[in-house]
C-alpha cells in the first residue's frame, strides 16, 4: 500500500466485452501498474486486445469490470475528463485523427477544448510545432502531408497540451521506415526531456526495445510481464506474441543449426558482435587453446 503513490496508472482486474461479440471477452482480468516516467510496451498479436486496453485506460470504452486509476484519480463517468486531461493518445491511422483543416488548427484543437485564451494558444502551437520540426508546415492542409508528418503533427498536439502520459496505439505501424524512425526518435527525446510516461502498443521490435518493461497480452489476458532482454530471450516464441524475432536471436538459431553454440539468453547486437569477434579471433591468434586435463 505504501507503493500506491509511486504508480501513475493502476489497473485492477479490468474486463471488457464488445457488445456484439457473444463468445469471449476482449479483455479479461487484466491488472498492472505503471510507474511515473516509465516507458512501458504492450505487445500481442493482432486481435489480442491490446488496443482495447489502451482505449479503456483513456475512458474511451465503457469497461464492464475492474478499476483504472490514473494519477490517483479513479476513472468514472464523472472523472473521465480529468483522466483524459492527463493522457495524450496517438492512434494508428494518421488520417483518421487529424481534426483541423490545417496543421496549426489541428495542434490547437486540444487547446480549444481546454478553452485556453487565444494568445496562449498561439504561443503553445508555435512552440509545439517547433519542437516536432513542423513549423514550416503550419498552414498546410493534411492532404499535402506524408503519414509520418501527420503523426508528428499529432505529437505536436500532445506536446502543446503537456500531459503526463503518452499512449501510442500502434502509432508507427502505418509509416514507412524513415517516418517510423523520426517519430520514435522524437518520442524518445520527449520521454527523456519531459519525464513523460510512455505506453506504447506495438509490433515493432525497435519500439519495444526502448521500453523499461514489456507486457504481453494474448486473447485478452496479461500473460507475461518482464524487461525487454528477458522477453526477447524467448526467440521464436516472440512471433506468437506479435513481435518480430530480434536479429541476434535469428542468427543464434542459425548458428546453433550449424553446430555453433552461442551464449544463452538475449544478446544485443554489440554483445553478439563482441562474442563472434572473440570466438573468431581468439582461435586465429592462438590456434590451439590449451586443453584442461
Amino acid at each position: 500500500m505504501t507503493q500506491r503513490m509511486e504508480n501513475i496508472i493502476e489497473v485492477h482486474n479490468l474486463a471488457y466485452r464488445y457488445p456484439d461479440a457473444e463468445q469471449h471477452a476482449a479483455l479479461d482480468g487484466v491488472s498492472f501498474d505503471v510507474h511515473p516516467g516509465e516507458w512501458l510496451a504492450i505487445v500481442g498479436h493482432n486481435g489480442s486486445g491490446k488496443s482495447t486496453l489502451a482505449k479503456a485506460l483513456d475512458g474511451l470504452l465503457p469497461f464492464t469490470q475492474g478499476t483504472v486509476t490514473v494519477g490517483s484519480i479513479v476513472l468514472t463517468p464523472e472523472t473521465v475528463w480529468q483522466v483524459r486531461a492527463q493522457i495524450g493518445m496517438i492512434f494508428q491511422n494518421p488520417d483518421n485523427q487529424f481534426v483541423g483543416a490545417t496543421v496549426e488548427d489541428d495542434v490547437a484543437f486540444g487547446l480549444e477544448n481546454r478553452q485556453l485564451p487565444r494568445d496562449e494558444m498561439r504561443t503553445r502551437v508555435a512552440a509545439a510545432l517547433e519542437r516536432v520540426g513542423m513549423t514550416k508546415f503550419a498552414n498546410r492542409a493534411p492532404s499535402s502531408l506524408s503519414g509520418g508528418q501527420k503523426q508528428r503533427v499529432a505529437l505536436a498536439g500532445i506536446v502543446a497540451m503537456a500531459p503526463k502520459i503518452l499512449i501510442l496505439d500502434e502509432a508507427t505501424s502505418m509509416l514507412d521506415p524513415q517516418g517510423r524512425q523520426a517519430m520514435l526518435a522524437l518520442v524518445r527525446e520527449l520521454h527523456r526531456e519531459q519525464h513523460l510516461t510512455v505506453i506504447s502498443i506495438t509490433h515493432d521490435i525497435d519500439e519495444a526495445a526502448n521500453a523499461n518493461r514489456i507486457l504481453v497480452i494474448d486473447d485478452g489476458h496479461l500473460i507475461e510481464e518482464d524487461v525487454p532482454a528477458a522477453i526477447f530471450a524467448q526467440g521464436e516464441r516472440l512471433m506468437d506474441m506479435g513481435l518480430d524475432v530480434p536479429f541476434t536471436a535469428k542468427l543464434a538459431a542459425a548458428l546453433q543449426q550449424r553446430g555453433i553454440t552461442p551464449p544463452t539468453g538475449y544478446q544485443t547486437t554489440q554483445e553478439m558482435e563482441e562474442w563472434l569477434w572473440q570466438s573468431l579471433s581468439n582461435t586465429s591468434a592462438t590456434p590451439t587453446k590449451p586443453t584442461h586435463p
Partner: protein
C-alpha cells in the same frame, strides 16, 4: 463506467454526418458521368445524400444535403448557386430522411421517399434558376435534373441493399 455514452453517441453522429458530407462532395467532384442524350452530366451527389439520409435519418440527412450542396458549388466554381443549393439539397436530405422507413419495403420505404426528395430538388432548381436567369433557363434545367435524380435513385437502392446486408447494425437501425 458506462455513463459517458450519451455525449459519445451525439459526437459520433455529428462526425458521421461530416464524413458522409465529405464523401458526397468527393464523389460529386470526382465522378462526372456524361449523358449523351442531353449533352449534360450526372454526378453522384444524390447517391451520397439519399444513402446517408436513409441509413441514418435526420439530422444526418439534412446536414449531408445542405453541406454538400453548398460546398460542391463553392469548390467547383459556381458560388452563385451555393446558397440556393444549401437550401434545396438540405430540404432534399431532410425530406428523404424524414420519410424513409426501411421496414416498409423497397417501394414504399425507399423509392417513394426518394421520389419526394427528387421532386424537391427538381422544383427547387427550377425556381432558383428562373429567379436568377428567367423562366426559360429554369425550364432548361429540368431534363438534366430529372436524369440526375433518377440515376441517384437507382444507384441508392442497390447501394443501400448492399450496405445493410453487410452491416447488421445498419439494418437494425442501431446506429440511427
Amino acid at each position: 463506467m458506462g455513463g459517458n455514452n450519451v455525449a459519445n453517441h451525439k459526437l459520433k453522429q455529428e462526425i458521421l454526418a461530416a464524413v458522409l458530407a465529405a464523401l458526397t462532395i468527393a464523389l460529386s467532384l470526382m465522378i462526372v458521368i456524361p449523358v449523351p442524350a442531353t449533352h449534360g452530366m450526372v454526378t453522384l451527389c444524390e447517391v451520397g445524400i439519399y444513402t446517408s439520409a436513409i441509413l441514418f435519418g435526420n439530422p444526418v440527412g439534412v446536414f449531408v444535403g445542405g453541406a454538400s450542396g453548398f460546398m460542391i458549388d463553392v469548390l467547383s466554381g459556381y458560388p452563385e448557386w451555393c446558397l440556393f443549393s444549401l437550401v434545396i439539397h438540405g430540404l432534399q436530405g431532410l425530406v428523404v430522411a424524414a420519410l424513409a422507413h426501411r421496414a416498409s419495403g423497397v417501394v414504399r420505404g425507399l423509392v417513394l421517399p426518394m421520389l419526394a426528395g427528387s421532386l424537391v430538388m427538381v422544383v427547387g432548381y427550377y425556381l432558383a434558376t428562373s429567379l436568377l436567369f428567367g423562366w426559360p433557363a429554369g425550364l432548361a434545367s429540368i431534363p438534366g435534373n430529372l436524369i440526375q435524380v433518377g440515376f441517384g435513385l437507382v444507384v441508392t437502392v442497390t447501394l443501400v441493399a448492399s450496405l445493410t446486408r453487410f452491416n447488421p447494425k445498419l439494418s437494425k437501425g442501431m446506429i440511427r
